[in-house]
């Protein structure tokens, strides 16, 4: 795809969306009542504010999840060349996992995996 076609794509896209929005705002019949402005029009009324605070415990889990999740990014390049690197690559990835495992063990031992 060349740059010109990309520009064309954006113009056509914006045009189509604009037409759809205009069409739907002029054509259909309108009615308005308080219930229409509820987040869930046909459900139970919502309670409290949306800016409620999450328990700190979620953050604890998210931190640990974040760290261990991103480490998989290193597995993909290895998996891609697994056949070529052979045993050596396998041992290296096992060492990598060992270090991660010690980290997880440490987090476990420190009680970071417990829900408080």
């Amino acid at each position: 795809m060349s740059a010109e076609s990309l520009i064309l794509f954006f113009i056509v896209g914006a045009f189509l969306v604009g037409v759809a929005v205009l069409f739907s705002s002029y054509v259909p019949p309108k009615s308005s009542n308080p219930q229409k402005f509820e987040p869930y029009e046909c459900g139970i009324p919502t309670e409290g504010l949306t800016w409620l605070q999450f328990n700190v415990g979620y953050y604890m889990f998210s931190i640990i999840y974040l760290v261990f999740d991103v480490e998989t990014i290193f597995l993909f390049p290895w998996a891609e060349v697994m056949k070529e690197t052979g045993m050596r690559g396998f041992i290296e990835i096992v060492i990598f996992f060992f270090i991660l495992g010690v980290g997880l063990l440490y987090a476990w031992k420190k009680g970071a995996l417990k829900w408080e």
């Binding site: 740059a3 991103v70 990014i73 290193f74």
Partner: protein, 105 residues
């Protein structure tokens, strides 16, 4: 997928993102938002690396690898930063920049 898009466009995008990040770092009040601005800075660098690698030097994958490592390091950085921010929240019940001003000149 990228064919035909000139390198300059990627660089302009990355530069804009970089400076949005710096701007956010300077003016934002909430610590988490500042952290997000920092991620913008790092990701703009990632765009740079990938674009250079793909369009200028496709024979080696150095830029791609750099990006992978930058992502991993950014995650580590974010988790340490969030841990410290949680600590501040526990002490102060707020995570705005104005509240952490105990030390000044």
């Amino acid at each position: 997928m990228f064919e035909g898009i000139p390198l300059t466009w990627f660089l302009i995008l990355a530069t804009i993102m970089f400076f949005i990040g710096i701007y956010g770092f300077l003016i934002r009040k909430n610590l988490i938002t500042i952290l997000m601005s920092l991620e913008l800075v790092l990701n703009s660098v990632n765009i740079n690396f990938v674009a250079f690698n793909k369009l200028l030097y496709p024979e080696h994958l150095e830029g791609m690898f750099f990006t992978v490592f930058v992502v991993a390091v950014a995650a580590a950085e974010a988790s340490v930063a969030i841990a410290i921010i949680i600590n501040i929240y526990r002490r102060l019940d707020k995570i705005d920049v104005e509240n952490i001003d105990e030390m000044k000149y």
